[in-house]
């Protein structure tokens, strides 16, 4: 007697689940090839590199859309670099929305800030450094987030119970310093290490032509300091050190006709030196240039950082100039090209071109090129001076 009852119940549960909670599936997969234009600076590094990546996505909502669940894992398989072969949960998040507040619980992604060439204020998510050299890919961050909003703006509080370490290319990969960075030997200021509970606050609002954001972060720095382990003379390596920091951030944007004026500034305490860093600039877009339907946007940003020697603080006194060219065609063709010049060292610069377009409704191609130059041995780009590369990606959306 129990058996049929169970079957009926199971059927009912399945029926109610499928009728009320429809699961949307989607995502993308990509095929990528990299070609390095110069011989490697360090032995064992490859000239070419190929990989595939997949990022599926499952989404369901219930309660009239007030509750939703999103699951977005990610995996990459690289034929050269074991460290670049990795997987991550980009998002696994329950979102509950009420009239004047919302909560997000799980693993999520948060972006803060306004500028294009640097994302100083953006601190919640760890950078996935093996993905792209531009640092725009992020690892999923476990969080409990509460956000409330009204006419007075939006206020968010975050409790971040687990720390994600930055990923680094392995010895068999390019875009790395001469010594291997050994993530497993990471050191922490806090005894709790990755289990230190961080927290963050943010207020954000629009005032007519202005967008203003104020933020505060207290916890483990996302940007480690790199040190060489001296005791291992035969097999030296670099280890990341994660200090406890406080960071105050301000980001602003002003719309002024066709101009967007942007600013981000931070003050951070707790690492080997307390410092200020800022980036300010503009973007101006001209629509319908030269009688076409193309848009041409000009970007310029000045980067300032008080730190003298930090592997990740490349913008100490640098100027970025760029062009964003949108074809406005059916294929959605776009090209972004930029140049970042160090104003102290004329030989230190990097340049990039990121172009993409649609082939069909499901396929898209991307061609990215990154060039680095430096003759200053203490500079980050010095390690990558021979890592100029061309990257071709075919992306399929399902």
């Amino acid at each position: 007697m129990i058996k049929p009852k169970l079957t009926v119940m199971a059927a009912l549960v399945a029926a109610s689940f499928s009728s009320q909670a429809e699961v949307e599936l989607g995502g993308s997969t990509s095929f990528e090839g990299r070609y390095f234009l110069q011989d490697a600076a360090y032995p064992g590094q490859p000239r070419t590199q190929a990989s595939i990546a997949i990022e599926p996505e499952a989404y369901t909502e219930w309660n009239d859309g007030q509750d939703s669940l999103l699951f977005k894992p990610f995996a990459r398989l690289d034929n050269q670099d074991d460290e670049r072969t990795h997987w991550d949960v980009r998002e696994l998040q329950w979102l509950h929305v009420a009239d004047e507040w919302e909560t997000r619980v799980g693993i999520g992604k948060v972006f803060w800030g306004q500028t294009e060439s640097l994302h100083l204020v953006d601190i919640i998510n760890q950078t996935d450094m093996v993905e792209q050299v531009d640092g725009e890919d992020k690892l999923g961050q476990p969080m409990v987030n509460f956000t409330t909003y009204g006419d007075w703006g939006t206020a968010s509080a975050y409790i971040l119970p687990y720390f994600r370490e930055r990923t680094f290319p392995g010895v068999d990969g390019r875009l790395r310093p001469p010594l291997p960075i050994v993530s497993d030997r990471a050191q922490y200021e806090s005894d709790a290490e990755q289990n230190h509970i961080d927290f963050a606050l943010r207020y954000q609002n629009s005032f007519g032509d202005y967008e203003v954001g104020l933020s505060y972060f207290n916890g483990t720095t996302r940007e480690p300091e790199l040190s060489v382990a001296q005791e291992e003379i035969t097999d030296p390596y670099i280890f990341p050190y994660y200090a406890q920091i406080q960071q105050f951030g301000l980001d602003m944007l002003k719309v002024q006709g066709s101009w967007l004026l942007k600013f981000e500034g931070i003050y951070r305490e707790g690492q080997s030196e307390d410092f200020l860093a800022a980036v300010a600039g503009f973007e101006r877009t001209a629509v319908g240039v030269l009688g076409t339907t193309h848009d041409l946007g000009f970007l310029m940003e000045y980067q300032y950082d008080e730190r003298e020697n930090n592997f990740f603080a490349t913008g100490q006194n640098d100027l970025m100039a760029g062009v964003r060219w949108s074809f406005n065609d059916i294929d959605g063709t776009e090209v972004l090209a930029g140049f970042v010049q160090d104003l102290d060292e004329s030989a230190t610069y990097n340049a990039f071109v990121e172009a993409s377009s649609r082939i069909t409704d499901n396929w898209r191609w991307k061609v990215d090129a990154y060039l680095f130059s430096s003759d200053d041995e203490t500079d980050t780009f010095y390690y990558m001076r021979r890592d100029d590369h061309l990257q071709v990606t075919l992306e399929y959306f399902f």
Binding site: G26, S28, Y59, S68, L95, V97, D99, E100, E102, K109, V110, F111, E136, T147, Y149, T154, Q204, S206, E211, L253, V255, G257, S258, W259, L260, E283, R284, T285, V287, G288, T293, D295, N328, D329, I330, G332, R358, D361, N362, R364, E395, F397, F398
Partner: protein
């Protein structure tokens, strides 16, 4: 005396001839404005709406591409309307959301949400003449009609597809508009826009927009008309865009909190 009389009447004739256009202008401007106000008045009180829209892009050689989107719109009584557009296709832009606040006199405010990087970006709203999602519709064609946006002139009465229409000219008051003028066909019975001719900054004919398959909707006892099909043809490039509205519903319990940056971040 006879001579003086003749001069007098001749002078009168000249004076009248000179005064006529000015006199007619003022009158036709008033009449044009009256029609525009009536058009707006007949479209007040619909509160809010949700719709699914298919956009069909065609280039001069007949190549076609379709885009799916959902549009939520909130009527603002003392201001331009608010709209949230979420794209479902093509797949690579799926989840991209676009929020716009139209204003009558000030520049519009616009934000775009890019789901891949979770980033809300403000858009410089002076770029209103740019194409909306690669279509022949410009951003300014997608924003709500507000009387103060134009200066009007009544041109003539006419018939359009068997219906009596007013033909009026409207000149954008915003110097950043991509148009020098628009000629608008409005039917006399319901004050629905049936056709618009757009002229570029040089004064050349640029685009023609036709609204078809009007259907009526009842909201709190008032009738509102919405076209099920909008067809925009670009005379200079031979490209065209068709918007097909599906599942249009009014009074969907939307309020201003559904049209802020938080709503943009959770739109999907």
């Amino acid at each position: 005396m006879q001579y003086l009389k003749r001069i007098n009447s001749w002078f009168l004739l000249v004076a009248v001839a000179l005064a006529m256009p000015a006199f007619a202008d003022e009158k036709s401007e008033k009449q044009g404005l009256k029609i525009a106000k009536e058009r707006k008045d007949r479209d007040r009180g619909w509160q809010n709406s949700v719709a699914e829209i298919t956009m069909i892009l065609r280039n001069a050689s007949g190549q076609e591409a379709t885009r799916e989107m959902r549009v939520d719109t909130l009527e603002m009584e003392e201001d331009g309307d608010k709209a949230l557009t979420v794209f479902d296709s093509p797949r690579d832009v799926s989840g991209t959301a676009f929020l716009s606040f139209s204003h009558a006199m000030e520049p519009d405010e616009q934000w775009i949400y890019l789901p891949a990087i979770k980033r809300v970006k403000r858009i410089a709203s002076r770029n209103k003449s740019g194409p909306f999602m690669s279509s022949e519709f410009a951003f300014e064609d997608m924003t709500s009609f507000e009387v103060e946006k134009f200066k009007y002139d009544f041109l003539r009465e006419d018939t359009y597809q068997g219906d009596k229409v007013f033909v009026i000219e409207q000149i954008p008051q915003d110097e950043f508009s991509g148009y020098s003028k628009q000629i608008v066909w409005i039917d006399q019975k319901h004050y629905r826009v049936r056709k618009v001719d757009f002229f570029d900054k040089k004064g050349d004919e640029l685009k023609t927009l036709e609204f078809e398959e009007y259907e009526s909707y009842e909201v709190d006892g008032t009738t509102f008309w919405r076209p099920q099909r909008s067809y925009m043809y670009n005379h200079q490039t031979g490209k065209s865009t068709e918007l097909v509205t599906e599942n249009l519903k009014f009074k969907q319990d939307l309020d201003e909190s559904d049209f802020d940056k938080n709503s943009l971040r959770r739109a999907r």
